[in-house]
Amino acid sequence: MNHSSSRISRIRNVFSATEPYLYLVPSILIFSIFLFWPFFKTIYLSFYKTNKLGQAKLFVGIGNYKELFQSSAFINSLYVTLVFVIIVVSISMLLGLIGAILCNKTFPGIRFFSTAYALPMAIASSSAAMIFRIMLHPSIGIVNKLLHLNINWLADPRYALVLVAILTGWLNSGIDFLYFSAGLASIDETIYERASVDGAGPVRQFVHLTLPGLSPILFYTIVVNIIQAFQSFGQVKILTQGGPGDATNLIVYSIYRDAFFNYRFGSAAAESVILFVIIMCLTLLMF
């Protein structure tokens, strides 16, 4: 009697000690299979030359990295990506901010406008890119029709990167709109009333009240935007395939090309690691 009850209580103790971990098992399992394993596999691969099936064949140490930093194509990729990220982040944040400010007041039809500003979030980048491509089509595209121009936008290295960046910026602006709307909603309305009685006009109110009020969310939004911009892929694949030349060969696209066209999985893995390090550094720098 006594013996068995102490046994039960011991089992109970063991169970209560392990219970929390049991709940974590499913997510750890999923993370391990889909995140940790590929991540470590990538780092592992980046030190090898591989065969066409992506199996590690020859250990080369940091050889892949060395090659990359000596390749002008990769340096170009880095540069293109940098320009691209700057344009995308500026455009998406600006669009999101303007939309959020416009929709911060209630007026008839606000639902329509809110939906319109948040909509890019719901559009797949590839379908947006398809539509964009038709719009920019040199002969039937509406852009040329409206501007009475005859430019092959996506084939022109001067425009291609900027256009892809504009599209991406617009696509990313939906989520920024949401962030900024939430940020604006958290600012006490009456401080604007006080400011207007105090004599401050709209510009001063924006600079002295809105921006500081948004600053916590502003910061978070920048980080998320940068990460998102670095990882853009679908629109490049559909609009320019990295071209013309290497004008839109963003790192992610270059990884894709290296891996699945050139079968240089080792090099692609090394690029991935570099991209990861860049994003991680930027994020750490910001926090």
Partner: protein, 403 residues
């Protein structure tokens, strides 16, 4: 010099709701003007229309004789203290107070000097480098007031500035505000639902109910001559006692008779009831009709004999307030002092001074101070003894002040 006039000002919200209806009032220069009324009666709306934060649906607003309906808040040169203080959360106390001066592009030294002087006046000099979140309620309140008075505004608007403070702090700030008003000699328009604040601070009080101005008058004027039952009940604490009565005329003269009460009435009351009072709008014959007698808690006098008593008072609860005490209890007919058939009615409240001598009977003979009695029409609520024309409380108040 700043005089603010509202002429037939109304606020109609989109849902067809009149938050303020036909408000007519002139706030004089240097006046401490109170707007008082229960929650939701349109006080804030009125103040916000003056500030320009709310559009005026109809009517005219004059600031110093200039029609100001269309002026932006920025152009009105008014200062406002908000109920929630509306401090700029990411600015220090100094920057909060300095904001309106910076907007006006004053020289830096000048700004510093003025902020310091205001901070000194309000006792917040030590807090100038703190953020609002690091302040207590009372300190925030001071910062809000400081931010308003630092500037030479034409008038200071305050929307329930003390309502978020605890009782002790509120009493302190009341005194301070009064001092401040004297010192600044400025026009103040102050919204509150607290009649104690109104009575202690105001030069004049405007009482509102459901968006409609009931009466505008000096505090004691409101207290002694309320225009209707609502104002009578709203002003004064504890509330005025309302006792249902009828008038009666017999051999002993004209009197007011309640269930357990008989008051000899004087000629003023008699003529008011008979409708031949000087006051035309109140004319109508109230003899035989139901009336409501209004008596303030302090307008009862304990007497020594049953004969002299208007009624007997049977205390049920005694509230000791230190120097005063409040007796809550029932009226018993003086004609039937030992009656067992007394009908219990609503309790009335009587306020006594500590040194008032009361007989230690269970039932105290009481007299009512006839001079301060009010008599209300139970249907319309209007005060039959109101000495002016209800349609024009403004003139009345002015006349009285001059008298």
């Amino acid at each position: 010099m700043s005089e603010i006039s509202l002429v037939n000002v109304s606020k109609l919200y989109k849902n067809g709701f009149y938050a303020v209806k036909d408000c007519n009032v002139t706030i004089h220069d240097h006046e401490f003007f109170m707007i008082i009324g229960p929650s939701g009666c349109g006080k804030s709306t009125t103040l916000r229309m003056i500030a320009g934060l709310e559009k005026i649906s109809s009517g005219e607003l004059y600031i110093d004789g200039e029609l100001s309906n269309m002026l932006e808040p920025q152009e009105r040169n008014l200062a406002m203290v908000f109920q929630n203080y509306a401090l700029y959360p990411h600015m220090t106390v100094f920057d909060n107070i300095a904001f309106s001066l910076k907007v006006r592009k004053l020289p830096k030294e000048e700004i510093e000097r003025q902020v310091m002087s205001v901070a000194d006046m309000l006792g917040i000099s030590a807090l100038l480098h703190r953020k609002p979140t690091a302040l207590s309620g009372g300190q925030r309140q001071r910062v809000a007031i400081g931010s308003a008075i630092v500037r030479n505004a034409r008038a200071f608007l305050m929307d329930e500035p003390l309502s978020n403070l605890d009782a002790k702090l509120r009493a302190e700030m009341r005194v301070e505000l009064s001092r401040l008003h004297k010192k600044l000699n400025a026009t103040m328009i102050y919204v509150t639902h607290d009649q104690v604040e109104a009575m202690t601070l105001a030069d004049r009080i405007m009482v509102m109910k459901d968006g409609i101005v009931q009466q505008v008058a000096a505090p004691m004027e409101l207290y002694r001559h309320p225009i209707n039952q609502f104002v009578a009940g709203f002003i004064g604490s504890p509330e005025m006692n309302f006792i249902p009565v009828k008038s009666r005329e017999d051999a002993s003269g004209f009197s007011l008779i309640g269930k357990n009460l008989k008051v000899e009435a004087d000629e003023t009351i008699e003529s008011a009831v008979h409708g031949d009072s000087h006051n035309e709008t109140l004319q109508g014959n109230y003899a035989q009709k139901d009336l409501i007698l209004g008596v303030r808690p302090e307008d009862f006098i304990p007497v020594s004999s049953y004969q002299a008593a208007d009624f007997l008072f049977e205390p049920a609860v005694v509230e000791n307030l230190g120097n005063d005490y409040l007796l809550h209890g029932y009226m018993v007919s003086a004609a039937d002092p030992f009656g067992i058939s007394r009908k219990k009615e609503k309790m009335i409240v009587i306020s006594m001074k500590r040194n008032d001598t009361i007989s230690d009977h269970d039932r105290i003979p009481m007299q009512i101070v006839t001079e301060h009695m009010q008599l209300f029409d139970p249907e319309s609520g209007r005060n039959l003894l109101y000495p002016g024309t209800p349609a024009d409380p403004e003139t009345l108040a002015t006349e009285r002040r001059q008298a």
